[in-house]
């Protein structure tokens, strides 16, 4: 049975597979229905209809975790033009668009503009920006044609991935260069000035390798505010990148990739000028981001397992919210997968990461850091053992031990038990502990939230201040899941979870003080980060796929979430307990993919998201559809309609008050793709 070997050429997928204790069952699955074909003639064989087990099904069948895989076909047929819109199809994931270039994305609650409890990886490279504890989705760009799959894990992944994989991991895996040979040209145009062009070419790199290189341009005009005014959130993006893969021998594979993305955009920010009227005003600010990254990976197959060594560096220069943020992340990761030792399947690894940042205020209203620059080191090691207790029962135990510069040593253990039969049915249980380590912003961010009248004094400025005493946020997570294949055409997946959070971030009122700013005294009403909140979240997720015929597939999903957030009696926080209203209590979705006459595809999806009560966002439905035609094998013409059911709707409200929301409007997008 092949495990990590198979993934060797795929790249970072190997780590994922090994880490979760996945077992690829391609050959084995096929053996379950032995058929004597030796006597058949060639003509007979050519008429046999075959089913191919997709990589997606293999990955899912024996994973003791709540995983949803978005595959290449799902990506193509969604008609989406960006990664956040793709994530909408994963059940239990909350995707809410704030503006043309801003999203709030989380899993199982705690959604915010910079959701800090979900780890996002591209080919094993963390795109989670530790300075802000979140992902700059506007700066993240991947040609969707180059994505092999997106693995979305709901629940903690701390044991393997470490800090910040608290309630989810989104892992984007791009295609091996061997699978993108030839030229690809696409052009997209649509409502709201949507415009996108991609030029890509891939070929041989010697007799043992392949490469691809691409250049992409994308732009979008600004959206409207709910009152109809211009939101000044348009953007332009230029992206150039490459990937090369070599299989030097049966044992050694090497992969190198890199890219440079430049984003030129705008955002309307709510800013505070404490000294001058009007104190509070919405202004159009620049949002510029230049990021570069380079990653190299070496996979080695051993007689009893495999090793992988990965090194990456990513640098970002970003102008946002009136500040300049410079960051550089260097990471080196080693993992070793050992198979075939008794009943054990062991993965262990080491990781060292060094992050340097520098935040400089560029305007009077900036978000600033009281300690403007810092270098932070993170060292971690993990080990995980999958023990085969019997033919159908496996126990996985493991832990991560890490040292960070904020809270010192942290331990994140987990255990999973899975019962799997025939690759068709499995039942699993999991218990895990995970943390979100404090980050630079928790310690030293500073920005003004509002100017409020203070009786007898005049005006006071509500100022958010980081707290160097801030501790890690912690979760204990318990889950159970069940998967079944009913016949050859239907697969179903159910998960229930309970998450107990403690020492969650709270907003505590500090003692008012008078500061002198711009030569005038100013009353400051500080709001300090504390750890005085707790939460009990529980919920249920279900999804299914029904292959009605070979040409028609239906996907359906449902997720529910109950959050109860409380604060200590000693806390002065009245905002955090209302955080449960930032996430929808239910989401329901349905997707249909129909292939007509071989060269016409007809797709549709509908998703309903219930209201976000705290943010004043009513429940909304979203109907998307796509029609594609292949006049030639190498050519595809498609027309996608998004939000067809309403003129426009809002999906979120950035409650940090920094970013103003615009509406998500109905749109139609046309695309042409050529391969040669």
């Amino acid at each position: 049975m092949s495990t990590l070997h198979g993934f060797g050429a795929v790249g970072s997928g190997g780590f994922f597979a090994a880490a979760l204790g996945l077992t690829l069952t391609m050959g084995a699955a096929a053996q379950t229905a032995p058929q004597n074909l030796t006597g058949r003639s060639l003509e007979d064989l050519m008429n046999v209809e075959v089913t191919s087990v997709s990589k997606k099904e293999q990955t899912l069948s024996k994973t003791p975790a709540a995983v949803y895989v978005i595959g290449q076909d799902d990506i193509k047929r969604s008609g989406a033009t960006n990664v956040p819109d793709l994530l909408r199809m994963a059940p239990g994931v909350e995707v809410a668009q704030i503006a043309s270039n801003q999203w709030a994305i989380s899993v199982r609650g705690f959604n915010a503009i910079y959701s800090n409890k979900v780890l996002v990886l591209v080919d094993g490279r963390a795109v989670y920006v530790t300075s802000f504890s979140g992902v700059f989705w506007d700066a993240m760009d991947i040609p969707l044609e180059d994505i092999d799959r997106i693995e979305v894990i709901r629940g903690p992944g701390g044991t393997v991935w470490g800090a910040n994989a608290v309630n989810g991991v989104i892992s984007i895996i791009t295609k091996n260069a061997a699978d993108t040979k030839g030229a690809l040209v696409t052009a997209t145009a649509g409502a709201q000035g949507v415009n996108e062009e991609l030029l890509q070419y891939g070929g041989h790199a010697g007799s043992r390798g392949a490469y691809r290189a691409f250049a992409k341009y994308a732009s979008m005009d600004s959206a409207r505010f709910p009152n109809g005014e211009d939101g000044a959130d348009g953007w332009r993006k230029v992206h150039a990148g490459f990937r090369a893969d070599w299989r030097l021998s049966a044992e050694n594979s090497v992969s190198v990739q890199g890219g440079l993305v430049n984003v030129d955009g705008g955002a309307t920010r709510n800013v505070i000028f404490p000294g001058t009227q009007p104190f509070q005003t919405a202004i159009n600010t620049l949002l510029k981001d230049l990021s570069g990254d380079v990653l190299a990976r070496w996979d080695r197959t051993l007689r009893n397992g495999s090793t992988s060594l990965q090194l990456y560096d990513s640098a970002t220069r970003r102008h946002d919210a009136g500040s300049l943020l410079d960051t550089n992340v260097t990471d080196i990761d080693f993992s070793h997968h050992l198979t075939g030792w008794m009943r054990h399947d062991i993965v262990w690894g080491l990781d060292f990461r060094i992050t340097h940042d520098n935040i400089l205020p560029e305007s009077a209203y900036s978000v600033r850091f009281t300690v403007p620059s810092r270098t932070v080191k993170l060292f971690s090691t993990f080990a995980q053992d999958e023990i085969r207790l019997s033919k159908s029962l496996s126990l996985t135990v493991g832990s991560k031990i890490e040292h960070n510069d904020f809270t010192g040593v942290e331990i994140e253990p987990s255990a999973q038990l899975i019962w799997a039969r025939n690759d068709r049915r499995s039942l699993w249980f999991s218990a895990a502990k995970a943390i979100r380590q404090p980050d630079r912003s928790d310690y030293s961010i500073q920005y003004d939230l509002a100017v409020v009248p203070v009786p007898g004094v005049g005006n006071g400025v509500v100022r958010v201040l980081g707290n160097p005493q801030f501790r890690a946020e912690r979760v204990r997570d318990f889950e159970a899941g069940y998967r079944t294949q009913a016949g050859r055409r239907i697969s179903l997946d159910f998960t229930a979870f309970l998450q107990l959070y403690r020492s969650l971030e709270s907003n505590e009122q500090g003692l008012p003080y008078v500061a002198t700013e711009n030569g005038a005294p100013l009353l400051i009403l500080p709001v300090l980060f504390g750890n005085k909140a707790q939460a009990t979240n529980y919920g249920f997720e279900a999804f299914g796929t029904w292959n009605v015929t070979r040409a028609w597939k239906i996907n359906a999903g449902y997720s529910s979430l109950r959050m109860k957030v409380t604060v200590d009696p000693a806390s002065t926080d009245t905002v955090t307990p209302r955080e449960s209203g930032n996430s929808p209590s239910q989401q329901i979705q349905m997707r249909s993919s129909l292939t007509l006459r071989k060269n016409v595809e007809c797709d549709g999806s509908f998703k309903y998201v219930t209201a976000l009560n705290t943010l004043g966002v009513p429940g909304y439905g979203r109907l998307d559809s796509r029609v594609a035609w292949h006049p030639l094998e190498a050519m595809e013409l498609s027309l996608t309609g998004q939000n067809l059911n309403s003129h426009s709707h809002v999906e979120f409200l950035d409650n940090s008050g920094l970013s103003l929301r615009t509406v998500v409007a109905r749109s139609v997008i046309a695309k042409i793709s050529l391969r040669f």
């Binding site: 092949s2 070997h5 198979g6 060797g8 050429a9 391609m26 050959g27 084995a28 096929a30 053996q31 229905a33 032995p34 058929q35 074909l37 030796t38 058949r40 060639l42 003509e43 064989l45 050519m46 008429n47 046999v48 209809e49 075959v50 089913t51 191919s52 087990v53 091996n176 260069a177 061997a178 699978d179 041989h204 010697g206 007799s207 043992r208 390798g209 893969d245 070599w246 299989r247 030097l248 049966a250 044992e251 594979s253 068709r424 049915r425 069940y482 079944t484 009913a486 016949g487 050859r488 239907i490 179903l492 279900a542 299914g544 029904w546 009605v548 015929t549 070979r550 028609w552 071989k598």
Partner: protein, 189 residues
């Protein structure tokens, strides 16, 4: 696949409902009686085995009259033990079949049929160059295999396996492909 949507729909609804109430034992038992389609690699394994009968190797390819007929798999084996099961006890013109798993092309020169796994697709050229001068019928199942110098490519088209042959390479290696196989395959010159 011929299926009647109306029946499928009814069955689907029943199965969904059954599973939702945790009653899937019933659903599991309600599988279609005869599987209308087979696993991709089961069928591909049968093709690999069948090629032995439709190809003639040059005289001298076998060292002796009883030398084994080696079917080799290079790279990740997608067949599990299916090839072994098919060839167990069988022989061709006195040559008993043997299935061998190999890691490098250098070990393949004594193979009669070599299946090159898609796990090796990045180095098809290096592998196929190393085979030059050896009468090995190479089979791959990733696009570009014959273009890179492989003899036969198995590809899926609308749920059926199709064969593409590179007759130039076959001729160079002195492999004589039967007209019956030629007539069923697409040929690449």
């Amino acid at each position: 696949m011929k299926s009647r949507p109306s029946l499928g729909f009814v069955r689907g609804v029943i199965l969904l409902t059954a599973a939702a109430v945790g009653w899937d034992a019933a659903a599991g038992g309600a599988q279609p009686p005869a599987a209308p389609s087979l696993d991709e690699y089961q069928v591909k394994a049968a093709f690999v085995y069948n090629f032995a009968k439709f190809v003639e190797w040059p005289p001298g390819a076998f060292g002796s009259a009883t030398e084994a007929f080696s079917i080799c798999v290079l790279g990740r084996n997608p067949f599990g033990r299916m090839l072994e099961a098919m060839t167990a006890g069988a022989s061709l013109n006195g040559h008993p079949f043997v299935v061998r798993q190999i890691a490098e092309a250098a070990e393949a020169t004594s193979c009669k049929i070599l299946f090159v796994s898609s796990s090796e697709r990045l180095r098809y050229r290096a592998i196929l160059t190393a085979l030059k001068g050896s009468p090995v019928f190479s089979v791959g199942d990733t696009e570009g295999f014959t273009a890179d110098g492989g003899v036969a490519e198995l590809r899926l088209e609308e749920g059926k396996v199709r064969i593409e042959l590179n007759t130039r390479v076959a001729k160079e290696e002195d492999l004589r492909i039967s007209s019956r196989l030629m007539s069923l395959a697409h040929s690449q010159k």
